[in-house]
């Protein structure tokens, strides 16, 4: 089982790195989907099949698809690749890489006391469901309200009154 974990982890890291260096948005999106799937495998290995399924269905399946829809709608084309090339000069990477690596080193240092691997902590979906209907019930309600708010907000922001100047209602934000 450990091997699956390491391979999936490597795939996730590799595809994330590839994702953030792509010039074409759609390519980057696809690499991101691969990364999410790899993480789903990691979840399964850890003994959380419910979450693995959620990751695939919701994250990679809905959210990323939403991204793809929007990117396709914006229809950015070849021009955007040129623009990205202009923006992504090599020099621009130094600062953020430095910062992120410092943060990573600190986090690693934090984790020095944690044991390398512990037993299989498999938690089956039934336990998750019981907890959701039990102590976390109010969290579920709040999450649904959040989703409702997101829905209404997204609808309102994106609403177009007419074909000509659809920005009038959009101004209200």
């Amino acid at each position: 089982m450990e091997l699956a974990f390491y391979i999936a982890g490597a795939v996730a890291v590799l595809s994330t790195i590839l994702m953030l260096t792509r010039l074409n948005i759609v390519h980057a999106l696809l690499y991101l989907i691969v990364s999410l799937l790899a993480v789903a495998v990691v979840f399964y290995v850890l003994g959380a099949p419910f979450v693995a399924a959620l990751e695939v269905i919701v994250y990679a399946g809905a959210i990323m698809v939403l991204f793809v829809f929007v990117v396709m709608m914006l229809n950015l084309g070849k021009h955007s690749v040129e623009v990205e090339r202009q923006w992504l000069t090599p020099g621009i990477w130094t600062g953020p890489v430095l910062l992120a690596s410092v943060l990573l080193i600190e986090v690693v240092y934090l984790m020095r006391g944690v044991p390398a691997a512990s037993g299989s902590g498999a938690v089956d979906p039934k336990a998750v469901g019981t907890a959701l209907f039990g102590p976390y019930l109010i969290g579920v309600d709040l999450a649904s309200m959040l989703l409702l708010a997101g829905l209404v907000g997204a609808y309102h922001v994106g609403f177009r009154k007419s074909e000509k100047s659809g920005n009038r209602t959009g101004d209200a934000t």
Binding site: G9, A12, V13, T16, I17, M19, L20, I25, A28, L32, S35, L36, V39, L46, A48, V51, E55, V58, Y59, A62, I63, L66, F67, V70, M73, L74, S80, E84, W87, L88, W93, P96, L99, A100, L104, V107, V108, M111, V114, P115, A116, A117, S118, S120, G121, A122, V123, V128, A131, L132, A143, L147, A149, G150, L151, A154, V157, G158, G170, T173
Partner: protein
């Protein structure tokens, strides 16, 4: 467990780098997703270590939040594209000073 947390940390810092580097608004949103995912991974790892469902439930909530955020964020991105005719994040600096 340490390896799991390490993986989460690496993914998170990769997402942070991407956030700080890229100028396209869609890329910014994507890197946010990466960071959220990494955080969720850390939660699930911790939940597996303690043998409790809390980690997975936390991941569920993070997922719901990410979904809502993406919906609104993409709607805003579309609106911004309509207004400014570009997705350059640096163009949105009217609140400076």
């Amino acid at each position: 467990m340490r390896n799991g947390l390490l993986l989460a940390g690496i993914l998170f810092s990769l997402g942070l780098t991407s956030l700080l580097v890229r100028r396209n608004l869609i890329f910014v949103l994507m890197s946010l997703e990466v960071m959220l995912n990494a955080a969720g991974l850390a939660f699930v790892v911790a939940g597996a270590r303690w043998h409790q469902a809390d980690g997975q439930i936390m991941f569920l909530f993070i997922l719901a939040m990410a979904a809502a955020e993406v919906a609104v964020g993409l709607a805003l991105a579309v609106e911004i594209y309509r207004r400014f005719k570009s997705l350059d994040v640096d163009k949105l600096s009217n609140m400076k000073g």
